[in-house]
Every structure is written in C-alpha cells, then in structure tokens.
C-alpha cells in the first residue's frame, strides 16, 4: 500500500528533507503541501513536484493517510489538532510543543480522534545510535553511570529566533533530540534539570547558549550542551555527540562524523561532505510503514512532550538559579 502524505507547513527546514524522503521512498507519495504562507507552499511544491493546496483544510480533505507538521513551533498545536480532527496520523516536528499545556492538548486531541502522533526524532534512526543502543542493551559497558551529550549548531535565525513563533532559542531547539536519545537509551525519565543559559553570542532577546545538567530516575546523571555555538565558518551545521560512561567502559557517538573533508580554493574554506546514512529517510520510512500496517508508531507524542518538558525546566532552572524538576507529562 502506498501511504499518501501531506505536509502541513514547510516553515522548518527539516520539512524539506522529509519531503525529499517521501519522494525517494518506494511506498510513500507526497500528495501535497499547504502552508499559511502560500508562496512558500507553492515554491516547495514546485521543488518536490507536488501540489500546493490553498489551505490546510483542503489538503486534509484531499485523501491523505497521514501528515507531517513542519511549521513554526507555536503552530504545532493548532495544526496537530486540525489533522487529528480530520482523522490523520501525524508526524510532528520537534519540539513537540512550546508548553506542557499545548503538548497535553495535542496528545488529548489525537487520543480523542483515535489517531497516532509521532515526534520527529530522526536521531533514533542513526545506524551509529542504533549500534550504541544495542551495545548498552547488551550490557557491554555494564550499568550506565553518566552521559555527556552535545547538540551544538549554528544559529538558524529566521523564525527560530522570534520567541513568539519558536517559544525559545537554542535551548528549546537543541535540548530535545539528545534528551530523547538519553531517555530512549536509559528507559528512564528526567527528574531534575539544572541549566546555565545565556544570550551572549548574539546579544539579543533569544537564548543562544545552554549547558544543562540532567538527573534521571535511575540515578544516571548527564550534561547536554544545546548551544548555537558553531560559527558561520564551522565546516558543518553542528553535531550530535554522546559519551556514555558505564561501569565497564565508555561508548562514544559522533553521529555526523561520517564526512569527507573538502579544502577548497574555490570557497577558500574547509567543509565536510557527509556520506552517512540519511536518517530523515529512515525515520519517514518507519513512520510510513507503521501507518500502512496500523501498528504503533515507533516514537510517540509523549516522547516528544517529555523531551520538550526538559527544555521548559531548563528555562525555569536558569531563571531560578537552582535545579528544577520537569513537569511529569505521562
């Protein structure tokens, strides 16, 4: 069965990568794109050889099996609610929501409508991450003691730095991926967050720097650098790294290190050309497969909200100057 997918907003650059994955995969079809910015919908539709719809409602009524929500963060809730009401399964970009209340409303809407909600955490599909998880599950390093993680990047600007659309800067943007990997790996929940947050990189109202310390309910402690600290001249967009320290060894992951290094006299610079597996495509394939077979989606909305709640707690901690317990979302 071919899964017909619609994209609700391409505000987030990841939506472009998901669109090309939908086109590339054999069992998925990109039925169309809608966006509150019609010009953006049309240009994306052209790029991906699909149809631009005049409204979200029209796209939802056009016979899609599932949707991808790729909007600005604050629109995740209304678009998810709309898609749920239309009876569509949803893959929503991270961070799932900009408040716990919004996230809960999204989960409730999907439950009421009997549709499934998945959070877009493609890092879980990284073959290196899968390998690391199997080593942990296999007991290769014994009991896990601590994790040091990073998800640093360049500042994306655009709506990402407009707080009324993003809900936060670097911390909301870059906390959730690695927090999700840690929760997944440890099968444990975050009980406490301490964060030092600053906006000294760009000296604007959005936060650009976040150093988080997390405590999990199984006693593991972790830190996470969620800063937009890669300069424009950095050879790539950023990184996802983990160092998992166990009683019997250390496992390290540098998720995006499968690169060629290009020293170019044309650009005068050094850049990295990735040759690793396309994790967005692996994620879309898993989403579509679950939709087609009616099985549970591999990542839930609850996962997305639990990770987002850690970023909210980080903001609260930085404000309070002390550790804060994230809201329990499940």
């Amino acid at each position: 069965m071919t899964v017909k997918i619609g994209i609700l907003s391409v505000a987030h650059m990841h939506a472009y990568s998901y669109a090309s994955a939908v086109n590339a995969l054999p069992d998925t079809e990109l039925l169309g794109i809608a966006d509150h910015d019609q010009a953006r919908a049309e240009s994306a539709a052209k790029t991906f050889a699909t149809r631009a719809f005049g409204s979200y409602e029209e796209l939802l009524a056009a016979g899609v099996d599932a949707v991808i929500v790729g909007s600005e963060n604050v629109r995740h809730r209304p678009l998810t609610e709309m898609a749920a009401a239309a009876g569509k399964h949803i893959l929503c970009e991270k961070p799932l929501a900009t408040s716990v209340a919004d996230g809960r409303a999204m989960l409730a809407a999907c439950k009421t409508a009997g549709v499934q909600l998945m959070t877009a955490f493609p890092c879980r599909f990284s073959p290196a991450m899968v390998r690391l998880k199997s080593a942990v599950d296999n007991g290769d390093i014994g009991k896990v003691i601590a994790i040091r993680g990073t998800n640093r990047g360049r500042c994306p600007f655009d709506w990402f730095t407009k707080l009324d659309q993003s809900g936060g800067g670097a911390v909301i943007d870059h906390t959730v991926h690695v927090t999700d990997l840690m929760r997944w790996l440890l099968k444990a929940e975050v009980t406490e967050v301490y964060a030092e947050i600053s906006s000294r990189m760009f000296q604007q109202e959005f936060d650009d720097t976040g150093f988080l310390t997390l405590e999990f309910d199984n006693g593991v402690f972790a830190t996470l650098d969620s800063s937009w600290s890669r300069p424009k001249s950095f050879p790539t967009w950023g990184d996802v790294t983990l160092s998992v320290v166990g009683e019997k060894g250390v496992l390290t992951l540098d998720m995006f290190s499968q690169n060629l290094v290009l020293y170019s006299d044309k650009t005068g610079g050094v850049s990295w050309s990735p040759w690793g597996s396309n994790i967005d495509e692996l994620m879309i394939a898993a989403f579509a497969k679950a939709v087609a077979s009616g099985s549970p989606l591999p990542i839930t909305g609850e996962d997305g909200l639990a990770a987002a709640a850690v970023s909210f707690a980080a903001y609260a901690s930085a404000k309070a100057g002390k550790p804060v317990a994230p809201e329990v979302v499940l």
Binding site: Y194, F211, K248, G249, S257
Partner: protein, 336 residues
C-alpha cells in the same frame, strides 16, 4: 646552582627529579619518602642522597629549594615545614592542598618567612594551553561565550591506591581537573558559581573506588559558561581536549574531529588480557614539567614573581571543592 630536595619519590617526583637533573642550574641533593627503598632508588638515579626523615634531609642536605611531591593531603605538612626552615623557594604539586584551609596555611607560612611558593600547575606550560590563552587574549574568537574541556582516561594506579580514596585525592574533581580549573580561571577569570555531578562526592567517608567520573558546569563572573568533563572511567586511553566558542569564532584542540568514526566502544578488559593500549604522544622540544620548574628557578635567581601564585593554587582548590560540594548537595555553589 640550586640545590633541590624532594619530598616523595613516586610518579610525579621522578618527573620533577629528572627535570632538575637535566637543568644546568639545578641538582637534586636529597630525597625523602616514607618508603626508604623508593627514596633510595630515586636518589640513586639522580646522584642524590636518600634520607630517612624530612627534617634530617633539610638539616643535612642544605637545600635551597624543597619540592613537595607527596600525595595531596600531606602537602601542607612539608610546605609549612620547608617555609619555617627559611629556604629560597618551595614547589608544591597540584592540587595545592586537600582543603582551602590547608592552602591558606601554606600561603601564610610562606608569606611569613618570605619564601616564594610555586604551585606546579603545569598545564599553563603546555604549549597548546598557553597558545589558546594567547589567542583568546588576542581576541581570536571575539567575545568568549562558552568553553568546554575534557580530560582523563583510565584509573591511575599509585601508592596505597591513594587516588582511589576520595578523602585523600578528592577524586577526579580535585585531583584531575584542577589542571583545567586553574587554566580556565587563568584564561577566563574568576568563577561565580559551580554546579556538578560526580561519583566520588556521593560516596560515604573512607570509601575506595577504582574509577571516577564528573561533569562540572561553571558560570564565570565575565558571563562565560564553562563545562569540564573529568574521567577515570575511560579504558580508551588518556584524552585531553578543549573548545572555546566566541561571537567571532571557535578555537579547539582535539575536540571536534573533522572526519571521524561515529561509534567507538572502549571496553575494560581483565588484567590478564594485557595492556595493548596505544599511547598517543605529542613530542615538543621542551618538556612542560621542565619548563615550569625552570621558570620558578629563573624567578628565584632574578627575584621576579613566578607566574603562578599561592593565591592561584588556593583559588583552583576552592573552585574544585565547590564543585565537589555541589555534587554532594545537588545545589549550585556560589563562590565568594
């Protein structure tokens, strides 16, 4: 020619002794260690005399300089005794002492007798760390916003497993990353508050471990945010690296590999499996330990003030112990 007497004949003492022996302006004249055979061996290797007591060594060897390389909790005993003996100078290994009070006692005793006291924070003499400070001071990355360091490898084996006794060594937070804490303070100024998690601070008194790990977050008075990783739990070999991110660039050493391997498993093996670890080396013309000790002797000869002061030694210990306390209490610790 400076006549140097060394307290302690373990790993670091051997390194210091060989640096003095290689230095045309110094010679080792006496060695004292509570293990007489260790003292005799090191004295023999450096053309010095081994003594059965520290006071006896001061008396008989007539040193100009005493260098204290015993485990940390006993630094204070030998530094204070050397200060009271009125020598030309005293060197003490890092961390300066096991408590801030001990550090202050050493500083006070040396100040009272007018004895220059040099805390051997050798990292300042490692070329990559010295160069990084020069680059930062020159504005290479603009205004610094974040700094991250990591240090460590497998667990160090030494006399009486003293590194494994947090009461003695202070674990990775005091013993290992005091190097980075001093370099960070030197480069980015005073620390405002510290938050940390770690293994050894959570253990009851008198515990003994064979690994340790800690993650420390620092907020500097300048606004810079720092992160220090400390490990004695990595069988994958000793690693040191750092990155400094500013509003105009990023400076790093051994931190973001241009094209690496995405997954590495470093697993502990049984002792019988043998140690087949690759030991990376980065040869430089001057050994940093030689450079730091030569710097001190040069200052003693000229009357200049050494680049590392007793206050620097105290402050690094204060930051480390604040991190230790934070990891114990679960709360951030604000420094005075």
């Amino acid at each position: 020619m400076f006549r140097v007497a060394i307290a302690g004949a373990g790993g670091m003492a051997h390194m210091h002794a060989s640096c003095y022996t290689a230095n045309p302006n110094a010679c080792v004249v006496g060695v004292y260690d509570k293990r007489p055979d260790a003292a005799a061996e090191m004295a023999g290797a450096n053309g010095a005399t081994a003594y059965a007591g520290f006071a006896e060594m001061l008396e008989a060897a007539r040193p100009d300089v005493v260098d204290v390389c015993v485990p940390t909790p006993w630094h204070v005993d030998y530094v204070v005794a050397a200060a009271e003996a009125g020598l030309k100078g005293v060197v003490v290994e890092k961390p300066m002492g096991r408590s801030v009070e001990d550090c202050e006692r050493m500083a006070a005793a040396c100040a009272a007798s007018g004895t220059p006291l040099f805390v051997a924070h050798v990292l300042r003499f490692f070329p990559e760390f010295a160069e990084a400070k020069r680059q930062v001071d020159a504005g290479a990355v603009g205004t610094v916003v974040t700094v991250r360091t990591r240090r460590g490898g497998s667990f160090p084996r030494a006399w009486e497993n003293w590194y494994g006794k947090p009461d003695w060594s202070g674990g990775v937070i005091l013993d290992l990353v005091i190097h980075d804490l001093d370099w960070l303070r030197w480069t980015f100024g005073d620390v405002e508050r510290v938050f940390a998690k770690g293994i050894s601070p959570k253990l009851p008194p008198d515990s003994e471990v064979n690994s340790d790990y800690a993650l420390i977050t620092l907020k500097f008075k300048s606004g810079v945010i720092g992160h220090v990783e400390a490990t004695w739990a990595d069988p994958g070999g000793f690693k040191v690296g750092f990155e400094i991110a500013g509003d105009a660039g990023l400076l790093e050493s051994n931190f973001n590999q241009p094209a690496g391997v995405p997954f590495v498993a470093a697993l502990q093996r049984g002792a019988e499996a043998g140690a087949a670890v690759a030991v990376p080396e980065s040869p430089t013309a001057v050994n940093p330990y030689y450079a730091e000790l030569d710097h001190f002797l040069t200052c003693l000869a000229s009357g200049a003030t050494p680049s590392i002061t007793p206050k620097d030694g105290c402050e690094a210990v204060r930051i480390a112990l604040a991190a230790f306390e934070s990891a114990q209490t679960g709360e951030p610790v604000v420094l005075p």
